[in-house]
Symmetry: C2
Subunit: 455 residues, 2 copies
């Protein structure tokens, strides 16, 4: 028998971690619901064809595929052999793998909307908090199973949605007590930059290079732009663009000059201005920061994009999102625009640990342990524990009449704040001895006083 282990890149979550994670999930969930978003849960497994081709070539390779069952059955074996040849050529084949694990929450959401379109209220506002799986190489902070936490509105082009999502970010991070910058840009501004620098076909090159700014710095970005065929004048414009700094107003003014009469750029600036003037954050912990260097990689965004940076923590973005033109076209339902945001729960967890932000009452373990000191004594203790439980006090009775020391150690290991000693003398007097394990304070109180004790 080999020692048991966990698959690489996966984790067990012990009680303390589960509780802290649930604190994050519940906080975000309650904010989503305050804004009228409704929960959705989709299965871990999707048909392979639902997922393939949606995440680019690299993404496709990271999808976990599920082997069909019964491959060695005589009715399946020949098809399976042929299918395996296909798989070895890097293709997919339903006769070997029909299903795969969810890679994100967006494609299952799109599949759900396409399947249920006529039944859904439009705009449809859903949130979804579930794990996803990716066959990425595991490394610090990157797991093969991790939770995503998304909210999307589909079926609406209104910028009011962006305003509300901005407020959701602000409220959630205020509740979590994490000071953040909500960085915003519009992909239309990036498109305008491309148009100014040699045409719309340069958008991809420019976006890829800009996206690396944080990591490689301006000089390397310029090198990359040169390699990608941009000339000195164009690179100079992009540098000017990337150097835009100051307050939101100053940045917008500078950009305005740079884009001049470019219609796409003006549309992008209008979006940003609308968002800034309508969001009116009341949160003390959040601020909206216009950031024209924000690009959000290669994805399908077309309008406002978001990225969240925790202030005072050494951590990449802890949330992001943006507007897209078409969610469900791939599934046969065209013209469903939308906008969505995502919370990076694993990173939020790390930031909260780093900044010591979890409230102390996240701990919902046992509040009181009754020592077990014999049959009659434990009988009485059990009755008291039952009465405390009916009042919502999390109570335990030690499982056997062991030495004091062993029962103490149990309380310590479980970080139980109070122990109750009910021996034969106490039983006679209908009293208990209660001890606060953190202060050491100890007192003898009646059964009734125990039932009304301020745990």
């Amino acid at each position: 028998m080999s020692k048991p282990s966990l698959p690489q890149g996966t984790r067990d979550f012990s009680a303390e971690v589960v509780r802290k994670r649930n604190y994050i999930f519940n906080t975000i969930r309650s904010i989503f619901e305050l804004y009228g978003f409704q929960p959705l849960e989709t299965p871990a497994m999707e048909n392979l064809e639902t997922l393939m081709g949606k995440y680019g070539e690299e993404g496709d390779k990271l999808i976990f595929k599920i082997l069909n069952n019964g491959l060695s059955d005589s009715k399946n074996i020949d098809k399976a052999k042929a299918a395996f040849e296909n798989v070895l050529l890097g293709k997919n084949d339903k006769n070997l793998t029909e299903r795969a694990l969810r890679y994100d929450l967006t494609i299952p959401f799109a599949r759900y909307v396409a399947m249920n379109y006529s039944l859904l209220p439009m705009p449809f506002k859903r949130y979804q908090i579930q794990p996803v799986w990716r066959a990425d190489r595991p490394q610090r902070g990157r797991y093969r199973e991790f939770y995503q936490c998304d909210a999307d509105v589909v079926g609406s082009k209104s910028l009011l949605n962006e305003v509300e999502l901005t407020n959701i970010y602000a409220s959630a991070f205020e509740k979590l007590n994490i000071p953040v910058e909500i960085r915003i840009n519009s992909r239309k501004v990036l498109a305008a930059l491309a148009e100014i620098c040699g045409g719309a076909d340069k958008m991809l090159d420019i976006t890829i290079a800009i996206d690396k700014l944080d990591k490689i710095g301006i000089e390397k970005v310029k090198e990359e732009l040169q390699q990608r065929g941009l000339n000195a004048e164009q690179i100079s414009t992009i540098e000017q663009y990337l150097n835009i700094a100051g307050s939101n107003e100053e940045k917008i003014e500078a950009l305005s000059k740079l884009i001049g009469d470019n219609e796409t750029g003006k549309a992008g600036l209008n979006e940003i201005n609308y968002l800034l003037s309508n969001s009116r954050l009341t949160s003390a912990t959040s601020q909206i920061v216009t950031d024209f260097t924000l690009a959000r990689g290669l994805n399908y965004y077309t309008g406002i994009i978001f990225e969240i940076k925790a202030i005072g923590a050494n951590m990449g973005s802890i949330g992001g999102g943006g507007r897209y033109d078409d969610l469900t076209g791939l599934f046969g339902v065209p013209n469903v625009p939308g906008v969505g945001i995502s919370f990076g729960v694993d990173r939020i967890y790390d930031v909260m640990e780093e900044l010591n932000l979890f409230p102390s009452d996240v701990h919902t373990g046992t509040q009181v342990l009754f020592f077990n000191l014999g049959e009659a004594e434990s009988n009485a203790a059990f009755q008291l524990a039952q009465q405390l439980r009916s009042k919502g006090i999390r109570s335990e009775l030690f499982h056997e009449n062991s030495k004091f020391d062993k029962q103490f150690k149990y309380a310590e290991k479980k970080v139980i704040p109070y122990i109750v000693i009910l021996g034969s003398k106490e039983l006679e007097e209908k009293k208990v001895n209660i001890k606060n394990l953190s202060t050491g304070e100890q007192q003898t109180i009646s059964f009734d006083e125990l039932l009304n004790f301020g745990f």
Copy 2:
């Protein structure tokens, strides 16, 4: 583009269903915590070798295996080919599938306990509420992805655990408002019956046959016992055993006579008596019923076994569990006895629907929709919605200035109880018109009154 679909045997859960399911989960979770059980979460994927051989030959076939990634890479291709030959022979091979989806919560729990044994408080009380996956043929009420909801205590032989688990069942079903019978038996009683009827080696045959009693009736059970080689006298004893009826006391007296001096049987009866006399259920909705026909199939139970039957609902068991001698021996840590119970959440859901038991406030959708009647109006409405949200009222502002009719339909489709109309006239007067959509009642109130409205 083919129409998107879900894999067979899997389900999307819409908002209403998610909320009702969470109501069940949260109720059971809070009871688990009142008794000092702590949450654990394990990954969806386990190493294949952790799971294989634990569920019998039939179970092994129902495990969903995950195909390794990168099989077509030149460094893997030869090994993958050889591995595939093994898979076609019905064997497993790490070079094709290293990982598989969790089949239940017990084996991952055992793996966790074995890996962390020295760090855990003993007895270790954990609960776990997570989905599992089985490649069963889907049918009504049987899914390929479904949640399990388990609580186990390991590292203790004390019957106090059985007493507490019985009380957990009673409290949980009382909170859920489901009247239940908590049926109990001891595997030791069944073992005694086998000893009386030709020896301990008959235990398996007798258990298998008895387990079918509900489905096939006494005559077919007798036929099966005959086919399994039991003689007329033995079958007569078993029939006598299965016919034991009456109150708990009457049943125990009758069994007592039947088993006579059999030591195993007496030990089993002692367990049952202890449980009956110590559980002292105070719940009006639960009763403990001794049921000697209860067998709990082929699994590893060795002491008290449980099964829950909803009273007044046409449904099989909605929970079950029992004591086992050794949880982690298979993973190299011997002598860890325990006892656990499980809640059948899908069936509990169906019973609650059938008996109409979900409380009306499970609905946590939007409480109030502000109509969008233009820019200035919706600006004011947005501010009011923000203030209501800060008071915990789930509020929405319709995303665009559409026709009344469209905004009404949205409210209806989302079952939003209140709509607020804030037009130019109302804006001038700093008033709103609020309408209760279920009663039709309508009134004009000030902004301040709205903020203190009893939603």
